[in-house]
Symmetry: D2
Subunit: 335 residues, 4 copies
């Protein structure tokens, strides 16, 4: 950490800060410039921060942190990246991870038909919402545990792994019986109790980025899971909220590159929620693969026109099949 | 709801939509313009929406909703506004609601001293975080239940009501013993399980706006609580995330006026989290009162320099005393 | 400026930077911490920056600037603030500056009627658009020079000063004959040629904040004008673009406090463009005054329903009269 | 256009609107629903809009536009797309347009070296800033006309076309002698005088998207140029301003798909300004090509460490060569 002092800071103020830092066992480097005096802090600051708020010490203009707050999620520990193992499949390895399925599980027929189709096209994971967080209390909230059961059965019938969203600590034991990977949705990215609970569950976690979360906040959220001893965390960029409304959200394609630089965790993208409209799903998915994402999670439905939620962004089986072929082409071209 | 058809929409497509609407018991008004054909839908659309996604019907350009999704939170039901009663105090009445206290409860001495001071200055509520949602797992997470107990004791000693954040369904029974009002933090505004649970608790709820939530999403969140039969919901604007970083968040002062127009719920503002810096707290608080807010919630600490969280934005007792006097002046001037 | 080196930076890299800095006549302070080595730079960096890009030197993680890029616009030069004198009226003094008039000048009758009314209510400035920058080429673009003439005549008839937008270097000589103050609109805040030209004109300038400009970029824009020797620059906050669309823009009320802290320039607010709707204009204007703005610029029209642009946000004479009275009450309460 | 009436709208209010519409020669379709009465308007509304503000008519809740405000820029006129011809090269055809060069022209040696290298790697266009709009008045502002001359000479020596930014109406005659295509920078996207002037110039225009402009505002800006008879307009997405600061701007990759759907104009992307950092340029460029962009404009410098502006985002010749090869692979894979 660096203290940048005010131009008007007095000598006694500077000495007082130096004394405080030393009291907490820290080293100090003073640099008196023409613009301002700078105080560099050396050593472990945790005791200091538990008792003092640096920004408020007299004479301080601002403080600049040097290190990131996450450790386990950082690239430093695993400079080569750290693939995640989910149901025997390696996310972050050579093969593109492809997760597909309906926004919400609606019926046995719907989910079995979808599992068959997406498996045939090349997906390794079946997705589908059993518990749906919905903006309005009056909207369809999902089939709940019945949805989990159908997902599991359909996935097993077609050799797929199950990824599905969890929304409460109390449901994890049940959910763990049916899911190969838990999804934490964008709205729960900073539901820290839930993060700790999925951390303790040991089940791999797909962590969606919050709609207005910075990349560092997202990695801090991953740290909550990793700090509980759960090593299989996969990041998922799904679009952020900006002033532009032509797409449902703005896919932050640069986040793929930034997350790769700062973190060793694998990262996939969700083009469906970012697009909000079928016509934009393919270009966004291809952009993600070209930018270096380790996979995609895509909404696919046997009959999008009759879907009960987010229908506007779900692909037909035929559209999904075309998409997978194109993604594989881009992935191979850059291999 | 209105369907706006594509310019290229065919007659059979229009007829198919008409037939679908009628099948679900809806009335139809057709309007063939030079730019596009418009189909107005008349009646209760819930059955339609449970089976069909209007945007995906062939020939449709887009659909425009007419009504808002919230009912109980809307202004329509209570055109004069609907004050909330919290521990015998009416929020949304003639008197300004003033809630003050430290970001986090840190010790008995700290919270009793604060309760005494803010009561003397005119606050009716004592605030303080017992459970603190923190971005990093390594930051101070609060005194938890011990914090609730101290808050209650300090408030009782000085005739104040307690408002404190709750973060999990499982803690509500305990929290209800100590709090007059639950606070739902910005990060949990769309934690729908928690919203339903505080709704069932019957304890009044201070609902902070999510950092990237629209005003309508916020009112939808309030609807989750109201729909459980809990009538005492108070909105709290605390700043939204924008590109500007000079303040911690951008206080959306216009939200006070918009929420008042769309909803009957009382609204207060939190200048501390929006400001992120002591020097900006007073101007933001005064702006809120002038814009018509029913109250404020402000961070106050006996010794901000030694606070364990968010110290940069906590007022001293003397600063708070000045602020209350100015707020009362503005409130009287506009009464 | 401070260099924060990568953890992996080598000793030769650090020595190379030190040598470079010395070559450009700069002093160096090295601080080797546990997290990173920090290099503080002392002295005038302009020669360095003309030849070297610090961020790209081998081993550098990032550079942290210490000083702001604007000098004349900063608070440092005038710690007590620096009022502007416009047509004999002091903006930034004890009296609130009130500027009012229609979005666009439409006719002689309209502007004379408005001048009479706003003067009677207490305005000192008549505003009105003669040249209107419009998003679409097919929208009404203003009465141009004829509009300036009408403004001048109406203002003179009622003892008001004229403020009107200029959009091109080539029109300034003409515009200077009719205007007491030039307005630079939000879309032109970074039209640097125009900024320099109004700087050279010597006419006082009302500088609107760009819709997506940070406060520091805004002050940099002011610096362009001040650097040409024009001392009368007034800042105008008019709302920024965010994800929220309930108001036309989000009035950044905190910007009033931040601009006051960083700059000596007076600041007023424009509630009309931020609101986009009559019902929100009054609360925003009152919030601005309470937050410490030196004045407001408000759209007023004799018959808003027949206005040719931005009608939804223009007040009637009666609404404006009520507003002025309330603003004066808030201003007095805080005097 | 559709009027959505308030629930409280009275019969006489509805009749008054109907009468007003008829007065301006418009057809009317009334639809009385359970939620609200809807009034559809049929015919050419230009006369109406020149005299009446629909949103302000008594009883109106809001108005919904049906048609976009741009015509010449829309996809409707050219459903297959409309390539642009620039110096004999077709942008929007089968071949990827590749524009490369330094942020700013700095010297003869620098620009000739760069022209040689980027031509060898496969670029068809040489870019370089002669006039640089800079946030601070104290930053390097470019070599001005001398820069244009060097660009032209270097491009001619290596068979390249010149694209360079123009910032003022008054410079266009001179600039047209040296440039094959004018660039309108993000800050000038709504400098409507300049848009009209480049429209009249007949020189092809690369129109960068404003940092906070919606896609529709961008197409409206293109309409200003097209409406002057200039048919060669190319859109350039270069990142928008959001809350995320890890990248300099957030590349709106979805804008490529949206612009393609709404407009017939070719679109390229600028990964350099969006990235702000060399490490992110390649992933963003590849994402753009995969999403269907017709080309890219990339910053390349012989010695980025000594560049005078935006050095952190300029590629070396070797990095650019690798990038072009990868872009071609992605482009071929999807052909």
């Amino acid at each position: 950490m660096i203290f940048i002092m005010k131009q008007s800071a007095t000598e006694p103020q500077i000495e007082a800060i130096t004394a405080t830092l030393k009291k907490y066992g820290l080293g100090v480097h003073l640099s008196k410039g023409t613009e301002a005096t700078i105080i560099g802090v050396i050593g472990d600051k945790s005791k200091l921060l538990a008792h003092v708020t640096p920004e408020l010490l007299p004479g301080v203009e601002r403080c600049v942190p040097i290190a990131q707050s996450y450790k386990l999620a950082s690239r430093t520990l695993h400079p080569e990246g750290k693939p995640a193992l989910v149901g025997g499949f390696t996310i972050g390895g050579k093969e593109l991870a492809i997760m597909a399925g309906p926004c919400a599980v609606e019926s046995e027929e719907q989910i079995f038909e979808t599992a068959k189709a997406v498996n045939a096209s090349g997906a390794q994971f079946l997705r589908g919402g059993a518990y749906k967080p919905r903006t309005s209390p009056y909207a369809f909230q999902g089939m709940e545990d019945e949805g989990f059961k159908l997902l599991r059965a359909a996935a097993d019938a077609h050799g797929l792994r199950v990824v599905s969203e969890v929304i409460a600590e109390t449901q994890l034991d049940t959910a763990a019986q049916y899911c190969d990977m838990f999804q934490i949705g964008a709205r729960n990215m900073q539901n820290f109790r839930l993060l700790k609970a999925v951390g303790r569950s040991g089940v791999p976690v797909l962590l969606k980025r919050g709609i207005a979360s910075t990349i560092d906040e997202w990695l801090d959220a991953a740290e909550y899971i990793l700090a509980e001893g759960n090593e299989n965390v996969i990041l998922c960029e799904r679009g952020i909220r900006t002033f532009e409304t032509a797409t449902r959200n703005t896919l932050d394609i640069g986040a793929v590159a930034v997350a790769r630089e700062r973190s060793s965790l694998p990262i996939i993208i969700d083009p469906s929620h970012a697009a909000g409209k079928v016509a934009y799903v393919e270009p966004l998915a291809l952009a993600g693969v070209a930018a270096g994402a380790n996979g995609v999670i895509v909404e696919v439905h046997p009959n999008p026109k009759e879907a009960m939620s987010d229908a506007a962004q779900q692909l037909t089986f035929a559209q999904f099949d075309v998409l997978v072929k194109k993604m594989e082409k881009v992935h191979s071209a850059l291999a």
